[in-house]
Assembly symmetry: none
Homo-oligomer: 199 residues x 4
DNA sequence: AATGAATGAGACTTCATTCAT
DNA sequence: TATGAATGAAGTCTCATTCAT
């Protein structure tokens, strides 16, 4: 009931505890699913009392939201760092795709949690806006490329969605079959994306 | 815990009841999520007692498995009907994509349930085999196309995965933003797929 | 979360169960207090599972509200039955006081629960209206008596409040010291009330 | 569980802190109820850590007992100061009633806490003795008055209880409907009490 | 086939209290 | 004295499932 102030100052020990909870929960949620994983399982797993959980999170739902929020923030940052200062729109798309593949293959657990969150209305609404922004980001590069005559004209939003779909599905398959992030077939994906949008 | 014989003969009224349960459950599961939807909610929703549910399904989990099984069976049939007798491998791929887009836009709820099922290990194992088969189906057409010199050589499995990703992500976005299945930008998708794999 | 329809039809067995729960809870609540009495204690006390409680009541709070509602309804009915058809306003007051003393000494447990409910804002608001009505009922008789010159004029609401206070406090003391309802000093109370208001 | 020595000397700053805790707790307990008010809420409300609470009180229960003890002590003192040196027993009763009304209207929150305490056996036993003494005090004056022929003979204990009931109920109603202590209808109450006992 | 009452494990959460710092 | 992190028993409530009718 008493919600936790989102900007509450934590001691460094407190911050570590919180991170430990998040880390462990992400693993468990991804492994067995959000609902099948109980708060008891999480606190037992790191050997603390139940109260600790509620000292750092106001509810199990709040924990997932935090995980999603932080995860989506990080992937966005990762993408933008890869794109910054790249003048060629096709290169920006390529770099974005590579950054996504990298990040997703390093954070397969978060990806799985996002996939779950899409399946419950409680969480999905939080994700819609993020998706719209992400697709619009890519669509902008596509329109730039069309304007510059680099690719044939077409429906930028559908293309951006397709790119997103390619990136995520390849990451999903890879996550399920191969633990090594370095073996992601990024070049193949990039080639397909770039020829696919060439038109 | 007595399990229900999967091939048990049902009277036509019984079959209708069962379908009614499935239909209503699919809607609710897709809307609010599998776990947040209780068996009580389902039976209340169609105005029957709890016993009815357990007459037709041995458990809530069993119901979801049935939904998934029937759903995946149907989409596979739909795709194969669209491909049958088509000698050109690229046309087979195109027809398969179009069939998937059609089916998914007509069955967005099942799609959402499949997405959920991927997030829990209990169900995910059932899906892995299906995905492998589905990707291998497409990969076979791709290899045929490569052999016939219709497209450049490349990693057929990654390409097939990409095609699957495009198809599903476009369907997801469309399901969330546009209720009308006829407005799926199938031509755009097909163009991107075909040029994307052209190499 | 799913609240119980207040007009839900119960089988006669169901009604008995519900009554059993109410009866036992009233006893326990009165004995040890509302909060110190857990739902587990109640269901264990009558030897049923926890779910039974929530089949009949949507929450522990709901149970208390029901107890209060039914209790206050009954005392009101009891009073009004005692007053009906009595033309003399002083007799109406006397009969009302006697009826209250009777009912309270037969229902000391409910009285204690009402006293508790006054101490928490969640419940108190429900009680204010009831008190206002009850006092106004008595005040009306007092004004009638003043109009008819039976008693000296005065502040009818304060008088009615005083009568209420006398009745309840005598009942409280009696409940704590003497289990036998027949020994309530009703005549003494009535005499004090009647001379007190005479002015 | 180390209990706090009840007569422990506190620095003046310590005494202030303790008073601050008591004051704030009384307000919250009266407003929302004893159980719904957590220790965390109290210490947060005055901006100190949890340790502070347990420095001054050995438990939440101990805090309530202290509040009750101090409150009942004060009202008794207030009444006795009002009665001292008054030779006429009826005047003593009148003065006692006026003193009670005054004190209760100035300390409505404590009154509510006492009402709560009556509803849990843990606390009620502490209150029984106090009530018995208080009623016996008044009964003594009544017997004096009877002996002196000032009022008709009657059951002094019931009368004293009635007086207590009047006083408290008028205070309760006033506390809930009118914040201004000066508007208590003390004269009306006194008149009713005096004529009521006259017989 | 169907009902709806019953079960009870187990989920989430609260909170009085303790304790290292 | 004081803090705030930690404890863990205990509380309320949910819900898949069973079963007498």
């Amino acid at each position: 009931m008493m919600s936790i102030a989102p900007d509450r100052k934590l001691t460094s020990r407190g911050q570590e505890r919180r991170d430990e909870l998040v880390r462990y929960a992400v693993t468990r949620f991804a492994e067995r699913g959000y609902h099948p994983t109980s708060v008891a399982e999480i606190v037992d797993g790191i050997g603390v009392g139940k109260g600790v959980f509620y000292w750092y999170f106001s509810s199990k739902e709040d924990l997932l939201r935090e995980i999603l929020r932080e995860g989506l923030l990080r992937i966005r940052r990762h993408q933008q760092a890869a794109i910054r200062n790249e003048p060629n729109p096709l290169r920006r798309i390529e770099n974005g795709v590579r950054a996504s593949l990298e990040w997703l293959s390093d954070n397969t657990e978060v990806m799985r949690l996002v996939d779950f969150a899409w399946t419950e209305d409680t969480f999905a609404s939080d994700l819609r806006r993020g998706r719209a922004i992400s697709i619009e980001d890519t669509a902008k590069h596509l329109r730039d490329a069309m304007d510059q005559g680099l690719i044939a004209p077409g429906d930028a939003v559908t293309m951006a969605t397709a790119i997103r779909g390619i990136t995520e599905e390849v990451s999903r398959l890879h996550a399920d079959t191969d633990a090594d992030p370095s073996t992601i077939p990024a070049d193949d994906v990039v080639r397909m994306v770039l020829t696919g949008i060439a038109g």
